[in-house]
C-alpha cells in the first residue's frame, strides 16, 4: 500500500468517525427512542383492541412496512415542501426513522404481548388488580423481555440504515466518506474504512444487547437455575 493511501486513510478516520458519533449515533438513538414509544403504544392499542386506535395502528404499520424507506425519506424531505411544509434534514430523518422503525417494532412488541400466557392477566384480576395495573406490572415487563433480542436486532439494522439519510443531505458517516472520496478518488479503501467503523458500532451494540439480555433474564428458566438465591432459614412446618 502506498504512503499516500495510508495518509488518506489515517487522515479520514476521524473525519468519518466524528460524523458517526455526532450524526449517525444520535439519529439512531433519538429515532429509536421515539420508535419504541410509538411501538409500545401501537402494540398495546392492538393487544387491548382499543377501537379507532387499533385501526390507526394497523394502518400506520401497513403504510410504513409496505413502502420503501428511501421513498419515505424523499417524500418527507423533497415532497412535503410542495405543501409548504419544510423540515430540516436531521429532524426529517428523525421523523421518518421513528415512524418506520416504530411500525416494525410495534409488530415485535405485539407478538411478544401475545406470547405472555393468558393466565398472567387472569391471576392479576384474581388478586384484585385492574387490567391496566396488570398490563403495566406483569404482562408488559414479560413481553419486553421476550421482545428484547428482536428489538436489539432492529436497532442494529436501523443504525446501518441511517446511511440512507445521506440522500436527504444529512452529513452522517456515508455522506462524509463520499465527500472524501470525491476529493481523493480512493473509493475502495475509504468505503472499506467506513464499513469498519459501522462494524465497530454494531459490535458495541451487540455487546450491549448481550449485557441487557443477561440482566433481564433473572427470572427466565434457563438462566435462573444457574444462580439460586440463598435460602432463608426456615421453621418446621410439615405435620
Amino acid at each position: 500500500m502506498t504512503e499516500r493511501l495510508w495518509e488518506i486513510l489515517s487522515d479520514s478516520f476521524t473525519k468519518i468517525l466524528v460524523p458517526g458519533l455526532t450524526m449517525t449515533l444520535p439519529l439512531t438513538a433519538i429515532a429509536f427512542f421515539f420508535a419504541m414509544v410509538l411501538a409500545v403504544f401501537m402494540a398495546l392499542a392492538q393487544f387491548a383492541g382499543v377501537p379507532v386506535l387499533k385501526q390507526l395502528s394497523r394502518f400506520h404499520i401497513w403504510v410504513f412496512r409496505g413502502t420503501p424507506l428511501l421513498l419515505q425519506l424523499y417524500l418527507v424531505f423533497y415532497g412535503l415542501p410542495g405543501l409548504g411544509v419544510i423540515i430540516d434534514p436531521f429532524p426529517a430523518a428523525v421523523l421518518v426513522f421513528s415512524l418506520n422503525e416504530g411500525a416494525y417494532c410495534a409488530e415485535i412488541v405485539r407478538a411478544a404481548l401475545e406470547a405472555v400466557p393468558a393466565g398472567q392477566l387472569e391471576a392479576g384480576y384474581c388478586v384484585g388488580m385492574s387490567y391496566l395495573q396488570t398490563m403495566r406490572r406483569i404482562v408488559l415487563p414479560q413481553a419486553m423481555r421476550t421482545a428484547f433480542p428482536s428489538l436489539a436486532n432492529s436497532l442494529i439494522a436501523m443504525m446501518k440504515d441511517t446511511s440512507l439519510a445521506s440522500t436527504i443531505t444529512v452529513t452522517e458517516m456515508l455522506m462524509s466518506t463520499q465527500r472524501i472520496i470525491a476529493r481523493t478518488y480512493e473509493p475502495l479503501a475509504l468505503y472499506m474504512e467506513a464499513g469498519i467503523i459501522y462494524l465497530l458500532f454494531s459490535t458495541v451494540l451487540t455487546k450491549l444487547q448481550k449485557l441487557g439480555e443477561k440482566r433481564l433474564s433473572v427470572y427466565t428458566a434457563k438462566e435462573s437455575m444457574i444462580i439460586l438465591p440463598k435460602r432463608r432459614p426456615q421453621a418446621k412446618w410439615w405435620k
Binding site: 393466565g119 406483569i138 426456615q234 410439615w238
Partner: protein, 245 residues
C-alpha cells in the same frame, strides 16, 4: 355465604353449564367432582368472572348479582373478597415468591409496603416456604409454586378461596404437599370451593360434595353421605369406577 342459581354458559354453540345451582356456607369445604368436560372449571371461572355467564344469579354475602349483567365495579368488589388458585399456578413469572404475594396487596389493595411484606412473609411461612421467598417461579418445583399461589390467595384474607384442580399438574408426592396445606386451611375454618379429582381430599377433608356431569349437578350431599350412600345411579357408577365405592 356464596350461592349461585341457574347459571348458564355456552361457548359458541356448546352449552357447558345448563342451569347449575350451588351453595357454599361459611366454613364449608365444598368439593366439586365430575368427569372432564362436565363444566366444573367453567362454573368456578364464571363465579369469579373470568368467564361471563349468559344467565344466572350470584348471591354473595346476602347481596344478589346478575351474573350476565354484573358491572366492572361489582366484579372488583366481589373479587376483593375472593381468591383463586389455578391449575397451572399462574404465578407472576417476573416476580419472586414474596413479590407474588405482595403484588396484589400493594397495588390493588393499597396496603403499605412494610405491612404487605409482613403479611406475605406470614403467608409463605404458613405454606412452608419461608426459605424460598426470594426465588422466582422458574426456580421452584410445581408443588412449591402451587403453595406460593395458595399463600398469595391467603394473604388477601378472602372470605372464600376457589381452587381449580390445584393438584392436577403435580406428581403424587407434590400433590401430597399441596393437599397438606389445603387440609390445614380447612381445619382452620377457611371457606373453600374446590374443583378436584382427588377422591381422598373430597372424602376426608371436604364437608360437602357436588357431583357434576354434562353441565348439570347430578348430586349434592354432605361428603360422608355422598360416599357412603350415593343416591343417583350415575354417582354410584362414578364412585365404582374411581374405586371409592
Amino acid at each position: 355465604m356464596v350461592e349461585v342459581k341457574g347459571i348458564k354458559k355456552s361457548f359458541g354453540g356448546t352449552e357447558v353449564l345448563k342451569g347449575v345451582d350451588i351453595k357454599v356456607e361459611q366454613g364449608d369445604v365444598v368439593a366439586i367432582l365430575g368427569p372432564s368436560g362436565s363444566g366444573k372449571t367453567t362454573l368456578l371461572r364464571c363465579m369469579n368472572f373470568l368467564e361471563r355467564a349468559q344467565a344466572g344469579q350470584l348471591v354473595f354475602d346476602g347481596q344478589a348479582y346478575d351474573l350476565h349483567k354484573v358491572t366492572k365495579k361489582e366484579i372488583a368488589a366481589i373479587r376483593r373478597k375472593t381468591a383463586f388458585v389455578f391449575q397451572n399456578y399462574n404465578l407472576f413469572l417476573n416476580k419472586t415468591a414474596l413479590q407474588n404475594v405482595t403484588e396484589g396487596l400493594v397495588i390493588a389493595r393499597k396496603m403499605p409496603k412494610d405491612q404487605a411484606r409482613q403479611t406475605a412473609e406470614q403467608a409463605l411461612e404458613k405454606v412452608g416456604l419461608s426459605d424460598r421467598m426470594d426465588y422466582y417461579p422458574s426456580q421452584l418445583s410445581g408443588g412449591q409454586q402451587q403453595r406460593v399461589a395458595i399463600a398469595r390467595a391467603l394473604a388477601a384474607q378472602p372470605e372464600i378461596i376457589y381452587f381449580d384442580e390445584p393438584t392436577s399438574a403435580l406428581d403424587p408426592e407434590l400433590t401430597g404437599e399441596v393437599l397438606a396445606v389445603m387440609r390445614q386451611l380447612a381445619e382452620e375454618g377457611m371457606t373453600m370451593l374446590v374443583v378436584t379429582h382427588e377422591m381422598g381430599f373430597a372424602r376426608n377433608v371436604s364437608s360437602q360434595v357436588v357431583f357434576m356431569e354434562d353441565g348439570l349437578v347430578v348430586e349434592s350431599a354432605p361428603s360422608k353421605e355422598f360416599f357412603q350412600s350415593p343416591r343417583s345411579q350415575r354417582t354410584q357408577e362414578f364412585l365404582r369406577l374411581v374405586g371409592q365405592e
